[in-house]
């Protein structure tokens, strides 16, 4: 067995564990029946598989999973960079149905998945995108994931770009930079895009700084997560100038993003001077933590609204607060 197949099997077992705790009796019956049908390859065609993905919505709602710590540890231990924290119960059920297809590496199964993408609704598209990094040779679905990143539906974008190692591993520079900027444009959590810190370059920084200039010229505020996209061990003059402008004109809480950028760009002297005079509670706390070395991309989580994180459930919110 190839390690990739093992990965799919292990993730399927994780799904089973999550589903067994959360589906009701008819839901579990549905799952058992459909898994049995999937095992008989010859009876499955694209239409039946598509219907199965649709029918899953009769048995699982789009509710947050709120994984227990043990489940969460298991869920993110299988594919590095894949974290099911923000998935819904319906996502898990559908991903399980995908993983039940026979011969996941085969062409016939790839064809079934392509058709499922073609006829998929928003929720199905999200689940299919989420299944991609678990599949053998996930790069076969590169075009589908770049399409997902082009979607203006935030849910679809997030399924393609966040909590998955796929983009950083398989996107070319153009697609990768577009995904990062797109995340800022539609308000998706950039800190949950896996691998940002490892794949920043001068061109991404230029695009981010141009965007900051554009926002200011229009009299608009700059999204604080933009400061995550500055590259290099030391901020260059243009970047420093833009960050300093944010500290001067940005609203209280927005300064936190600029502080993280100063710490990330090795300008701790400047940062220390600002933090001493900081009156905004959040920005002061983030600045102090940054001085103490907490300034990787996940530190930007603390700039998001608490309400947004709480939507994922109490366990997830607690883990994210600790993380931030």
């Amino acid at each position: 067995m190839k390690p990739e197949d093992d990965r799919a099997a292990r993730f399927a077992a994780f799904c089973d564990r999550v589903l067994s705790e959360r589906l009701d009796a008819p839901g579990l019956e549905f799952l058992a029946r459909e898994l049995e049908r999937s095992a008989v390859a010859s009876t499955d065609d694209a239409a039946r598989f598509g219907v199965r993905l649709g029918l899953a919505s009769r048995h699982a709602r789009r509710r947050p999973l709120d994984l227990s710590d043990a489940e969460h540890d298991l869920g993110r231990s299988i594919v590095q960079g894949l974290d099911p924290e923000a998935w819904t119960l319906l996502d898990v059920l559908r991903v399980r149905l995908v993983l039940a297809l026979p011969d996941l590496a085969g062409e016939r199964t790839a064809g079934l998945l392509e058709e499922a993408f073609r006829y998929g609704d928003e929720g199905e598209t999200c689940a299919l995108l989420r299944s991609v990094p678990v599949l053998p040779a996930p790069e076969r679905f590169l075009w589908r994931v770049t399409e997902g990143c082009r979607s203006n539906m935030r849910s679809v974008f997030e399924a393609a770009a966040t909590d998955t190692p796929f983009c950083v591993q398989h996107f070319d520079d153009v697609a990768w930079r577009q995904a990062l900027l797109k995340s800022l444009f539609i308000g998706a959590p950039l800190w949950r895009v896996f691998g940002v810190d490892e794949r920043l370059d001068a061109e991404t920084q230029r695009m981010a700084l141009d965007y900051a200039d554009e926002r200011r010229s229009a009299g608009r505020s700059v999204p604080p997560e933009l400061w995550m996209l500055l590259a290099g061990a030391e901020l260059d003059e243009r970047a420093l100038h833009s960050v300093e402008a944010e500290v001067t004109v940005g609203p209280g809480p927005a300064r936190a993003g600029a502080y993280l950028a100063l710490a990330r760009g090795g300008r701790t002297g400047i940062l220390r001077a600002h933090v001493e005079h900081e009156t905004n509670e959040l920005s002061a706390a983030v600045g102090r933590a940054a001085l103490a070395g907490r300034h990787d991309s996940r530190a930007f989580a603390s700039l998001r609204a608490r309400e947004e994180i709480e939507l994922l459930g109490p366990n997830a919110a607690r883990r994210m607060a600790v993380d931030a």
């Binding site: 899953a56 598209t125 308000g187 999204p223 997560e225 809480p253």
Partner: protein, 298 residues
């Protein structure tokens, strides 16, 4: 008050409409699959149309705190293009069983032709097979006969009457529809179909059981606020608020909720949380300007 408009073609409405609907208290809508004002000429157009009903339109509605459900079906007008109709009928199971699809519809008769009857029967069969609700569009011409025939054909197909909603009723057709045990929906249109005043009289006379008010607003002269406006008039005329709530909210949920696709608990919750999620309103993020106030009135 909160409202459910169970028949409105949002694809043909503007963003401004969504804003005023949310402001007027509309919390959920059903968008039935229909034609586009002109006939489509190939099956690919249906693929993209159905995809937009379950995709972009649902998302667009959610940005205004409105839950968007839809129905999937081949409408009676386009059923008359027989070759294309067969292709569309084959396509239907791929969409009809998806999340948020609450019925097969709107189907039924337009000119009451053989081709229309074929498509109607095929879709009734699909509905019975998958235990779905059916939304029937009643014809503009020869309406009474069209409705009686729709009821007969649906019964012959084995559809339970509580799973059948007959739409666009009027004073002449309500008795047949209710007597057979189906749901009677009424479309409030400014100039044709049913007016708000007449609707009040119907509810006064028949009571609220199995009666549903909708706007059927589309690209024609129509009003996406028909449901809240009619409710306001009913209250003004002294109709029991519990009755008004039934015909503009809970009856639609009871009828279409039989699909299992309406998360009633979620619908009952205040939609402000979604706004926070979508617009990061209380966030320090200002990448997007929030377009709706902090609290959504619907």
């Amino acid at each position: 008050m909160r409202f459910f408009d169970p028949h409105i073609h949002m694809s043909s409405r503007t963003t401004d409409d969504y804003e005023s609907m949310a402001r007027a208290g509309i919390r959920a809508v059903i968008e039935p699959a229909f034609w586009l004002g002109q006939p489509r000429t190939n099956v690919g157009s249906f693929v993209d149309y159905f995809s937009s009903l379950i995709g972009w339109e649902r998302f667009r509605a959610s940005q205004f705190g409105i839950v968007h459900y839809c129905t999937i079906g081949l409408n009676s007008k386009e059923a008359n293009d027989e070759g294309l109709a067969r292709e569309v009928l084959e396509l239907l199971p791929r969409y009809a069983l998806k999340e948020g699809v609450v019925a097969i519809g709107e189907i039924g008769y337009d000119e009451i032709t053989k081709a229309e009857e074929f498509a109607f029967q095929a879709q009734l069969e699909l509905a019975v097979q998958h235990d779905m609700v059916v939304m029937v569009h009643s014809p503009h011409r020869d309406k009474k006969r069209g409705i009686v025939r729709s009821l007969d054909v649906a019964a012959e197909a084995g559809l339970a009457m509580e799973k059948l909603v007959i739409d666009h009723n009027n004073e002449e057709t309500i008795d047949d529809t209710l007597a057979r045990g189906a749901w009677a929906a009424f479309t409030i249109y400014p100039h044709t179909k049913m007016g708000s005043e007449r609707m009040c009289e119907i509810v006064r006379k028949y009571g609220p059981e199995r009666i549903i008010v909708d706007s059927s607003a589309d690209w024609g002269i129509s009003d996406p606020l028909s449901v809240p406006r009619t409710a306001a008039l009913m209250l003004e005329k002294g109709i029991d608020p519990a009755w008004v709530e039934k015909v503009t909210w809970s009856n639609a949920i009871a009828a279409y909720g039989q699909s299992g696709q309406i998360d009633v608990a979620e619908l009952e919750r205040s939609p402000t949380v979604d706004q926070t999620q979508l617009f990061s309103e209380n966030s320090v993020l200002r990448g997007q300007e929030p377009r709706v106030g902090a609290a959504v009135p619907n």
